[in-house]
């Protein structure tokens, strides 16, 4: 194919957007709304997952040590706990520190009552162990109990189970919503592009009669669809950014309580904008180009 012919086909694709502006606008709007709906659903899903994983990360196993434990044992245990694969963080909490904290938390009346005791510190030395995967908390707990100087383990397994269920349900609902929206949007987009191409079936028919090859007919449609897709992606990106920032501000304010429970904050738009831009542009380009080209293919069998 000559360079001039290739240039002609590209030009036909670009001018086709304007020449068929009514149908182009309809496709643009449908794709914009679809991309936005699916995009915002996915963003909501990853943020819900982030909130839950933040809370999960705060789960700690308390490892109570035997009274006779020495500093050498503590140093050794610190290293060995850290070597367990599911462990993400190990903090030693000495009995002296625990005693001091307890006294500090007491009311004046309680402190006065304490003076009648013998003054001994009854609290044990402990480790606070944070873990990565809640689902294998029981296995990690068992591993921790195998050490000689470990007296007992306190792990919030029922809370962990509830969190896992919450995370799974949230993931399931989010995936279901995203998949349903994607299917609905693909059906609507496919219908719109089909209607758009259907309106030009005579044009395709004429091209076939004068000896145009299928690719010669398809290329302008491909470029036209791609351009509409890119424009819709840009539009959807601008609207998503605006909506996301607004929602981010409102939700962040509302979720302060959850953040105190250890929940991670929502992703800021600037931190995910690159991925969102790439995803929108890729989806817009592919759906636009393929949707139009496949629809045009239906009328090529003349």
């Amino acid at each position: 194919m000559r360079v001039s012919s290739a240039g002609y086909l590209v030009k036909q694709g670009v001018t086709g957007v304007w020449k068929n502006r009514m149908m182009s606008f309809a496709s643009f709007c449908i794709m914009l709304v679809s991309l936005m709906l699916v995009g915002i659903s996915i963003l909501a899903g990853i943020n819900i997952s982030r909130i839950i994983s933040g809370i999960e990360a705060q789960n700690e196993i308390f490892v109570v040590l035997k009274p006779e434990v020495t500093q050498a044992d503590i140093d050794k245990l610190y290293v060995e706990f850290n070597n367990i694969s599911n462990v993400t963080d190990v903090t030693f909490y000495s009995k002296d520190q625990a005693w001091a904290d307890m006294i500090a938390d007491m009311t004046q009346q309680e402190r006065e009552a304490m003076q009648y005791g013998n003054g001994d510190n009854p609290l044990p030395d402990t480790f606070r162990v944070k873990i990565a995967d809640l689902e294998i908390m029981d296995i990690t707990s068992s591993q921790l109990t195998t050490f000689d100087m470990v007296e007992s383990i306190q792990s919030p397994e029922s809370f962990a189970t509830a969190l896992i269920s919450l995370r799974n349900v949230a993931a399931l609902i989010t995936s279901a919503v995203v998949i349903a929206l994607m299917i609905i949007c693909l059906v609507i987009i496919s219908n719109t592009t089909r209607t758009s191409v259907h309106a030009r079936r005579k044009e395709i028919n004429i091209m076939k009669y004068v000896g145009a090859t299928n690719s010669f007919i398809r290329i302008p449609f491909f470029i036209e669809g791609m351009l509409i897709g890119i424009l819709a992606a840009i539009g959807a990106l601008i609207l998503t950014r605006f909506a996301y920032i607004e929602l981010y501000n409102v939700i962040t304010e509302q979720l302060q309580g959850l953040q105190m429970m250890g929940s991670k904050p929502l992703y800021s738009f600037s931190s995910i904008s690159t991925y969102v831009t790439i995803a929108y542009l890729a989806a817009g380009t592919v759906i636009g180009a393929l949707g139009t080209t496949i629809s045009a293919g239906k009328y090529l069998k003349v």
Partner: protein, 228 residues
């Protein structure tokens, strides 16, 4: 050259559109194909353009055996044929110039050639001043002349005119046939399907008559001015 050898077409509905047709049209011939509605004229054209396949028999067009031609080569076959339809079939979003140039772009013709060839054929059909006009801004007769220009722009071996005068004023019909005759005189084979007997009587030439899917008449007829 066009040749039909024992060609029959039966549609899936069971209708026999053509029944054992044998026909040969040599290069440079001009032939009218006449017949009433349902006689098989449209089926004949669809066969020539490889829009449909014959149920039996062989169709040869410009060196292509349509029974053996690959789907991919159909566009090559169509590039050797210029078609003029009753309803013009111009692309409404393209100017007159673009409608005609499109045919040359399809065959990957050089830009310089397109720039000289399109104005030339538009001059032949008397529409040099309508290059930048859109089809809807033209009269029926003018649109048909654009369609004619499009049909001959890539110098095809065969021009098929399917009821080219069906949608235009009777007076202009004679101009269209005159143009087709002129093209034929330059060596292009022309097949004109029509049911306007006045035109056939006026211009004369080879007349092929179809009735119920069979050829009932295929002879040379003398022309006269009587029908005009």
């Amino acid at each position: 050259m066009v040749e039909f050898k024992d060609v029959s077409v039966t549609y899936s509905s069971g209708v026999d559109a053509l029944d054992g047709i044998n026909l040969r049209i040599n290069d440079g011939d001009f032939a009218f194909i006449v017949g009433s509605n349902g006689a098989g004229k449209s089926t004949l054209i669809k066969l020539l353009l490889k829009e449909i396949d014959a149920t039996s028999g062989t169709v040869l067009v410009n060196g292509y055996n349509l029974r053996k031609i690959r789907r991919r080569k159909v566009s090559m076959l169509r590039r050797t044929i210029g078609v003029v339809f009753q309803d013009f079939r111009l692309i409404p979003t393209m100017t007159v110039y673009e409608n005609i140039a499109f045919v040359l772009r399809v065959i990957d013709a050089p830009k310089k050639y397109i720039k000289t060839r399109v104005p030339y054929v538009l001059e032949l059909v008397g529409l040099s001043d309508k290059m930048k006009t859109y089809p809807e801004q033209l009269s029926g007769g003018e649109q048909q002349r654009v369609a004619l220009a499009r049909a001959l722009v890539n110098d095809p071996k065969l021009i098929i005119a399917d009821e080219p005068t069906g949608n235009i004023d009777p007076e202009l019909s004679y101009d269209i046939v005159e143009l087709l005759k002129g093209i034929n005189e330059c060596g292009t084979t022309v097949l004109m399907v029509t049911h306007e007997h006045n035109l056939v009587r006026y211009f004369g030439g080879r007349v092929i008559s179809l009735e119920n899917g069979s050829i009932t008449f295929d002879e040379m007829v003398g022309g006269s001015d009587a029908g005009k």
